[in-house]
Symmetry: C2
Subunit: 406 residues, 2 copies
């Protein structure tokens, strides 16, 4: 069993770096605060006897040797960067749970068969630099190191120069680092576990995700003198699509998700009929087939709206992450550990993307969820219970031990 108090204290110590007034954390990727956070975790790693490697995109691997040097390491981790109004647990928990596993093994003098590593990936949040999950994405070859290096923040600073500035531009070629299996503990970021009153979420898969930009173009005109029948009101057409996005998701339960999160109206004036509306569409589901059906239904509805309204409507897919089923061996290891430890649990398909989906492209991978208060994350009021965090870390320890590598 791990030491829950020590885990909690480490979480709180790390959360002090970039702490916000409202109890959250603002520690954007590759800022001075991120450097301080990274330095603290690396210091703790070295104090626990770990050997530290940094790759060219700033991913950090901290290694504890196993008995058998020929085995690939069992890796666990997550990220230490946060959202601008982020919480204490998102990402940070996954890294410090890994560190707590190491400390526990040290306490007990247990030597594992395979080496064990704690990793943290660069810029998972994507708040400062796009794309999200950058470090793990480069690692698995989803996009190139050059693409990542060229990403710039709003001030025009590039990932490469910021990595160099904070001292985390490593030598190792990303992806060259061998991984035997990958586990990631994370707060659920949703309300399912709390709603069902379960402690551990066994994560069989991460939903696939399609992001779109939709633009409806009508004709702006004065709200008073323009009769209803002569209007080309872009907002009225856009709202029918916004509602359909939710109806589509509701047609494919339990994992269908449909969200319009971002809307811009032009010219956005009280007495002007909107001439143009831009909005985002976010569709998710657990299988390629279901996600594709949702995609087709959305496009069909848009085509129908275009015809019915006579307005120009453009839809462009701007991101796509395919559904990611985790490796049965890893999922079973998590399930077995949970049962052995006697925690209440259920399967929870992850609705949010995580570094684990990229890790899963290069090694067997799995995830462990713990509840977070009211399902809230990406918010300074994000919260989680110490006993739940301890439970997730215990499950991680035992899942890793169940799985001696490949």
């Amino acid at each position: 069993r791990i030491n829950g108090e020590r885990l909690w204290k480490s979480l709180m110590d790390l959360a002090a770096i970039g702490a916000t007034e409202k109890g959250g954390v603002k520690r954007l990727a590759l800022t001075d605060l991120d450097r301080q956070g990274r330095d603290l975790v690396v210091r703790w790693g070295r104090e626990a006897g770990l050997e530290v490697t940094v790759d060219q995109i700033g991913n950090v691997f901290m290694r504890r040797e196993g008995r058998n040097p020929d085995l690939f390491p069992i890796v666990t981790g997550s990220h230490v960067d946060t959202q601008p109004t982020g919480g204490k647990f998102d990402g940070n928990y996954g890294v410090l749970a890994g560190l707590e596993v190491i400390r526990t093994l040290n306490d007990r003098g247990i030597q594992t068969e395979a080496p064990i590593e704690v990793a943290f990936w660069t810029n998972e949040e994507g708040s400062r630099f796009v794309p999200v999950m950058m470090g793990s994405g480069v690692f698995c070859g989803a996009f190139s190191l050059e693409t990542a290096y060229d990403a710039r923040d709003v001030e025009g600073k590039s990932v490469r120069e910021e990595l160099e500035r904070i001292g985390y531009l490593g030598d190792e070629v990303p992806g060259r680092h061998p991984i035997g299996a990958y586990f990631e503990t994370h707060i659920e970021q949703g309300p399912v576990l709390e709603d069902a009153d379960k402690v551990i979420g066994v994560v069989p898969a991460v939903m696939g995700l399609s992001w779109y930009d939709c633009v409806v173009s009508g004709m702006e005109a004065h709200a008073g003198p323009t009769p209803m029948g002569l209007r080309r009101d872009a907002l009225q057409v856009a709202t029918t699509i916004m509602q359909e996005v939710v109806r589509i998701a509701n047609r494919y339960p339990p994992y269908g998700r449909g969200t319009v999160g971002m809307v811009q109206v032009f010219p956005n004036s009280r007495n002007v009929i909107p001439g143009q509306v831009k909005f985002s569409i976010d569709l998710r589901n657990v299988s390629d087939a279901l996600l594709n059906t949702m995609h087709e239904e959305m496009l069909a509805f848009v085509a129908q709206a275009r015809e019915k309204s006579g307005l120009a409507i453009e839809v462009e897919r701007v991101s796509y992450y395919p559904p990611c089923p985790f490796h049965p061996d890893c999922v079973n290891a998590v399930r077995a550990a949970t049962e052995k430890l006697g925690y209440s649990s259920m399967d929870v398909v992850s609705g949010a993307g995580h570094d684990a989906i990229y890790a899963a492209r290069v090694a067997p991978a799995g995830m462990i969820f713990v509840p977070c208060k009211d399902g809230i994350s990406h918010n300074e009021i994000e919260d989680a219970r110490p006993d739940h965090l301890e439970a997730g870390c215990n499950v991680l320890l035992h899942a890793m031990l169940e799985r001696p590598g490949i």
Copy 2:
């Protein structure tokens, strides 16, 4: 008959002050450009032998004496300020049509029974200082001089200090200036005349107008991990109200108008379910009874949406202008002049507010509309045909002559 070419030339000369690259005009109230525009019109008035009075809110009256000094003047006018991306005709046409009437009377050596005055009212547009139709509003007592003086632009400059700076802080107490009858020529700002291929719009009334701010509050949450059934999506509820606004207007033709022009979504992030949506509602109709019915139906729908969704929904009325029927004598004078001159015409209820609705509170008033291209105004591409502008000015001349004052 007035001189259409002279009218057009004056319109183009005035439009040169604050001309924009796209062919529009930017001459915001009480700026240096507004001063130049005012100075030019006043110079033209003096050249035409008019006596100029400025009141304490900067409204300008330019007087041509009549035979009978005991009669109140027949006043015509509009405004010379423009929107930030305004056109050449909105307001400016009404003032220069009045000046062209004077010039025509001078040319013919006609002395009228009642005095004739050309007025321009301060800050009709309300783009720089709120509220709109400020000069005529203070004049008729809709709000106080102090309220108007205290209005500030985004830089914090007040109406009073700007009036003083540009030299248009007059002596006369607003409202003390007697008006026998008021006529205003204006571009329609809508597509009705053009659609029906008519030259003159006889304006029997201006629609009443209710403005609301609506706020729907749900719970922001992550778009991926939050199941559809556990969401409190503020946008999905808001869109039902946005659509109902249009349905309500369609239930009360031909003058019902319903517009949602302004929308703000919080936090407005692609993968966050909207926690709050603020939007504007603009309802209009020609009678108090109809507008009130629309108001009640909107509130009833909101109450129903509140109950059905469980979300907090607030609606606040932020402005109200009652419907303004014009005086039958003035409307008939316009109709008679149009018929006498043989122009094609129709009745067009004004959907937009004008200085004439405030003038109508203190004197018999009427308006004359001419078509504008595609019904577009408050836009640099606003356009109108010289022959239509000439026709409207001829109707103004004859309507004023038909109406010898009270």
